[in-house]
């Protein structure tokens, strides 16, 4: 109010208006009693559920770390498996086998997955039935149980038309098919995030469609694609079920070769130790899990760092 006018309201009316204001405000703020209590209980329930989920995660990691702690040591990495001496049992051939598998998966999955994603995002006419078929296929494949891929690998890659035998390459091919849908879906997402104006600018300057893709779209989407690939590979690293069918269950004491002879992988070797009835071997298995979780955590953190570092605002 401007100072020219004296205060017209008396002390009593101002008190009354303040009282009325406060009464209205509190009555508006107040919720029906029963709902507030119910709401509080529900909120507590929600927090309880989230806490259980988070605690479960902590429990899996901690329990394995505590159980495996007595087996930690360099022998885990340098020694081969043992059936008799749990204190000497290690993961050396399994780690080497897993490295071969990872390398194979990267080699197959990156070009094919990115190629498929580029085709679906940049070339394919989504209204055509064959392109719809491909999309439907990828969605379905992403949800096929991993052991079915093991059957495919067994019938088609290990035996049958490709007839590779139980070698690391067969395992790598099987895992590649398993993670291919994940890579395609992630790469498509990354390519879709590049705004159309970039493409239009490039095309307007006279670049062909492939030149536009190679020099503009792909470079801009590399961080997104790399994130998807790393996450897919970390899934392949932890996957054991299909490998049981394509030969990685074999007990390997020597360093495996990529193209000949038996091989094993980290998760199947852990499974092998975990199956034994003696608790000492379960300790070794737990130590192996910790080893695997450390590698996975590093890969996932790298993926998150990559995403945050190169996240581009257009």
């Amino acid at each position: 109010m401007s100072p020219r006018f004296p205060r017209l309201t008396s002390e009593r009316t101002s008190l009354a208006t303040a009282g009325a204001h406060a009464a209205v405000a509190t009555s508006l703020k107040k919720r029906p009693g029963s709902d507030t209590v119910k709401g509080q209980i529900f909120f507590a329930l929600l927090l309880f559920a989230v806490a259980i989920a988070m605690l479960a995660l902590a429990a899996v990691i901690l329990q394995n770390a505590i159980k495996g702690s007595s087996a930690f040591g360099t022998h885990l990495i340098t020694d081969g498996p043992s059936t008799i001496f749990p204190e000497k049992a290690g993961f050396r051939p399994a780690i080497i086998g897993s490295l071969y598998l990872m390398a194979g998966v990267i080699l197959f999955v990156v070009p094919i997955g990115v190629g498929a994603a580029v085709y679906l995002e940049e070339y394919a006419d989504g209204t055509r039935w064959w392109n719809k078929l491909i999309e439907l296929n990828i969605q379905n494949l992403a949800a096929v149980p991993s052991i079915i891929y093991g059957i495919l690998g067994l019938a088609f890659i290990v035996r049958g038309p490709l007839d590779l035998g139980f070698v690391a390459l067969a395992g790598a091919l099987t895992l590649s098919l398993l993670v291919l849908p994940t890579v395609i879906i992630a790469a498509r997402e990354a390519i879709r995030a590049v705004p159309p104006s970039i493409r239009e600018g490039s095309l307007a300057l006279g670049a062909t469609q492939w030149q536009t893709i190679r020099r503009q779209v792909l470079p801009a989407s590399v961080p997104g694609i790399a994130t998807g690939v790393i996450l897919a590979i970390s899934r392949a690293l932890g996957e054991a079920a299909p490998l049981l069918l394509v030969g990685a269950a074999t007990f390997v004491t020597f360093d495996p070769q990529p193209l000949s002879g038996g091989y094993s992988a980290l998760p199947t070797q852990i499974f092998n130790y975990a199956l034994r009835p003696q608790d000492e071997f379960k300790v070794v298995a737990a130590a192996g899990v910790v080893l695997m979780l450390i590698v996975l955590l590093m890969m996932n953190s790298f993926a998150i760092w990559l995403r945050n570092r190169y996240e581009q605002q257009w």
């Binding site: 989920a53 949800a143 062909t208 054991a240 049981l244």
Partner: protein, 319 residues
């Protein structure tokens, strides 16, 4: 692409008819590259075809010898006996039992977490909780299986000392292990479904005097129900196809029972056990891999189709 070229020649061509903007010669390189990329995309279709082929022919061989009626029966599952019987319904019931216990644990926890993430959590809390849950989804299943056998199983046996028939293996331990695996799936997908509910619905409900509890449970949750059901169906399909946890923790007795303390043999575990055992290729026992695999493939495919249909319906409502 074609449409763009047409307008370019149409409009600019008129101004300068000497230099049309279409390429002077056909670009074969571009076509070859497009063909190669299309071939990459075709690999997914080929994968599906190969899965069907590699499952189908041994399955037909198997049914030729055993008969469909004998397969879908409650006969003993004894493929390695001298006179083998193949009552695959026992495997199906074992699988459903493990899935049931997993869902009984994971559906409440997952849905409540989803509601928390979508309706209650502040953005900063959400940004930490969701990735942590996704880490839980990324833990290798063999690690969860080991956790089930070395932690969950002894703990439950401590609570119910005499209930477990063939310790340390029983289906509840495996089910809870699978439950840990699918909690993040349900939480994350149902969170997505509920966040897709338009804000106007929430504001309308608040405007009518509803409190947060009513908005979350009577407005947002029903509006997102098809997406929520889809998340549960997808989680169930994941549970049915899970191998390592049941292989480690559920034992190997093909009991046709939903008793949580009984040991069961699931479809996936039976496939893995036959494949890793010393069983000759081409024998009828070996072919059970493919027959049971076909059954598993059809079941998960059906569930995924249901989930996808639900998600599509749910999308049509708001877009």
């Amino acid at each position: 692409m074609e449409a763009r070229d047409a307008t370019a020649t149409g409009e600019l061509g008129r101004m300068d008819p000497a230099r049309p903007l279409v390429a002077a010669r056909p670009r074969y390189g571009e076509k070859i590259i497009q063909g190669l990329l299309a071939a990459c995309a075709l690999i997914s279709v080929i994968t599906t075809t190969v899965i069907v082929i590699s499952l189908l022919s041994p399955t037909l061989d198997f049914f030729g010898e055993v008969g469909i009626g004998k397969f879908f029966s409650l006969d003993e599952w004894a493929p390695t006996q001298a006179e083998p019987t193949f009552g695959a319904l026992r495997l199906v019931i074992g699988t459903l039992s493990a899935t049931l216990w997993a869902l009984l644990f994971a559906v409440p926890i997952g849905l409540l977490s989803g509601i928390y993430l979508s309706e209650y959590a502040r953005p900063r809390v959400r940004k930490t909780v969701k990735p942590v849950l996704e880490v839980l989804a990324g833990i290798p299943t063999v690690a969860l299986g080991l956790f089930a056998i070395t932690f969950i199983s002894p703990e439950i046996q401590g609570i119910f000392p005499d209930a477990v028939k063939s310790p340390p293996f029983f289906v509840l331990a495996a089910g809870l292990g699978i439950g840990l695996l699918i909690v993040p799936i349900i939480a994350s997908l149902s969170d997505d479904a509920m966040r897709a509910v338009p804000g106007g619905l929430r504001e309308g409900a608040y405007g009518l005097g509803a409190d947060k509890l009513k908005v979350a449970t009577r407005v947002v949750f029903p509006a997102a129900i098809s997406g929520i059901v889809a998340s549960i169906v997808l989680a169930a399909s994941r549970a049915i196809g899970e191998t390592m946890i049941v292989l480690l923790a559920a034992g190997a007795n093909p009991n046709a029972s939903f008793n949580p303390f009984e040991s069961v043999l699931t479809m996936t575990a039976s496939i893995a056990r036959v494949a890793t055992g010393d069983i000759g290729t081409g024998t009828i026992t070996y072919d059970t891999i493919f027959a049971v695999g076909s059954l598993l493939f059809v079941m998960t495919l059906g569930m995924n189709a249901i989930a996808m249909r639900l998600v599509r319906r749910f999308r049509e409502v708001y877009e």
